[in-house]
């Protein structure tokens, strides 16, 4: 029980809220790494997923590759890239993007593939071109799954960005790794709580976005 009060006091200590080592600064760093990684992953995975979903070609190959990429050990990738290019943000971004692309890609692809064939037929019957079908029918219908992919990726990224601290970067992982080295377990716990809270917050944000963006006609399916 004293441990819990230690953690409580850790949050209460004003020193922990100021300066470079303070919670706000580390939070901002963590969000920075996470946001950047999610953006990059989306920039790669969304167009690719839409393309192969729409054309239906190469789907099996890409999905299997994506699943294999999910198996990449984050720690290993970070260490590999650091050993090759040195410390910096790049190793962390590479690992996080590699982690995030599979769920976004697979979900986008499945979302587009899963669009009712009749719906697409009707759209073409109405005279829509391939591009119009994509934008007018497939994307809106696929939106729930696409958002699910982004949401899954976001939570994984936020949780895994903790590892950035292992290679002397910032972020909330600093509280975990520094706490471990200094045997300050309230710091470790505090860092863990912050990361978990941030991950859950990201999930909540995506749920709200989903409510706002997904057309009511499709919402029941979600």
């Amino acid at each position: 029980m004293t441990f819990l009060t230690d953690v409580w006091h850790w949050f209460g200590r004003s020193a922990n809220w100021h300066g470079d080592d303070g919670i706000p600064h580390r939070l901002v760093e963590h969000l920075g790494y996470s946001g950047l990684a999610l953006l990059l992953a989306a920039l790669v995975a969304l167009p690719l997923g839409l393309l192969i979903g729409h054309t239906g070609r190469g789907g099996l190959l890409v999905v299997n590759l994506a699943n294999a990429a999910r198996a990449l050990p984050t720690v290993g990738v970070v260490i590999l890239v650091v050993t090759v290019v040195g410390i910096g943000i790049l190793p962390v971004l590479v690992a996080l993007v590699a982690l995030a692309v599979p769920p976004i890609l697979v979900n986008t692809y499945q979302g587009v593939r899963g669009v009712d064939a009749d719906l697409k037929d009707a759209a073409r019957g109405m005279g829509m071109t391939g591009w119009q079908v994509l934008v007018g029918v497939e994307i809106p219908s696929a939106l729930p799954l696409v958002l699910l992919g982004l949401r899954t990726a976001a939570i994984q990224i936020v949780s895994t960005a903790t590892i950035a601290a292992y290679v002397s970067l910032g972020g909330l992982g600093r509280f975990v790794f520094d706490g471990l080295a200094r045997e300050d377990y309230s710091s470790v716990a505090g860092g863990a709580v912050l990361v978990a809270a941030l991950a859950l917050l990201s999930e909540a944000v995506f749920v709200i976005v989903q409510r706002a963006v997904v057309s009511p006609g499709i919402r029941q399916r979600g």
Partner: protein
């Protein structure tokens, strides 16, 4: 019909798991691949542990291989990441033997300790050590924390010793392992003994590749490296001398849980300490870190060369 299919698959899965578990070769990570164990060996298995940097792993292997050669049954649990984990484990018997550094051990046991010479440090340790533990003879070999700068930095500010940092410390970033910030043989001591206040402290790793990279990139102006690190010579880093002996004695010394201590173990480890001096250790570390040789092989070769295995 369906249930039998399910149970068949589950049984097959369990069989796969059993095979896999057999391959895992015991529950100890990096368990040593079979110790000779003669008939006069003590029934107990001794567990040699180490911290997670190459020199300590090497020392762990040296102890382990030497003991094996004398017929002791040995298991290794190397590359452990946290000092508190290590210390708790050896107190409870999860680990039996550790290659320690007397100065660092004393600082851990008593952060206010001021002893500096080998004899004083060892005596102080003996009083502060948990009753379950004991230390054996220290080796001549030492591996001290040292403040290091790049050649360029040394030239720019005319740095040869730690006091030389006084005029410029306020503008410099210093790097070290996270615990460097809060310990006496670290930022605290640099302030209290040398009156140095730095611009910023950056958490790096335990004198490892991140620290070396940070020095080379200029992310930090000075950093804590270990004196036996071949990266110092390789990168032409300049070691700042420590006239006030902030980083006191750091002899390699075996820390042992008394419950496993036998005469065989004591004489074997003492014999190692007698033969280990700083330049020997530095040479061995270089083989592991720079030449990428395996630490267990380097350990075995050295023991053979000095007649201890």
């Amino acid at each position: 019909m369906r249930i039998s299919r399910i149970s068949l698959t589950v049984t097959a899965g369990a069989a796969v798991m059993a095979v896999v578990a057999a391959c895992a070769n015991s529950s100890n990570p990096l368990a040593s691949a079979g110790a000779p164990g003669s008939s006069s060996a003590p029934a107990q298995t001794v567990t040699v542990g180490s911290a997670n940097f190459p020199e300590n792993v090497l020392l762990g292997w040296i102890y382990a291989k030497a003991l094996e050669a004398k017929g002791v049954k040995v298991t290794t649990k190397l590359n452990i990441g946290s000092r508190e984990v290590i210390y708790r484990q050896i107190k409870s018997g999860g680990l039996s033997i550790l290659p320690e550094y007397n100065g660092a051990l004393l600082a851990y046991l008593d952060p206010k300790a001021t002893q500096l010479t080998t004899a004083d440090v060892d005596a102080a340790i003996a009083t502060k050590l948990d009753p379950a533990l004991t230390i054996l003879d220290p080796a001549a070999a030492e591996d001290k924390d040292s403040l290091v700068v790049t050649q360029a930095t040394a030239a720019k500010y005319g740095l040869k010793s730690i006091p030389d940092l006084a005029p410029v410390a306020k503008t410099l970033v210093i790097g070290g392992p996270p615990e460097f910030k809060t310990r006496q043989q670290g930022i605290l001591g640099l302030k209290s003994l040398y009156g140095l206040t730095f611009k910023e402290f950056k958490s790096l790793d335990t004198a490892g590749p991140i620290t070396v990279a940070a020095l080379k990139n200029g992310n930090v102006a000075t950093a804590d490296l270990f004196s036996t690190d071949p990266n110092i010579v390789q990168n032409s880093f300049v070691v700042l001398s420590d006239p006030k002996n902030l980083f006191g004695a750091q002899n390699i010394i075996p820390l042992v849980n008394k419950s496993v201590l036998t005469d065989t173990i004591k004489t074997t480890l003492d014999a190692i300490s007698a033969k280990l001096d700083t330049s020997t250790l530095a040479g061995l570390v270089k083989k592991v870190v720079s030449d990428k040789d395996d630490p267990d092989q380097v350990a075995a070769d050295w023991l053979k060369s000095v007649g201890l295995a």
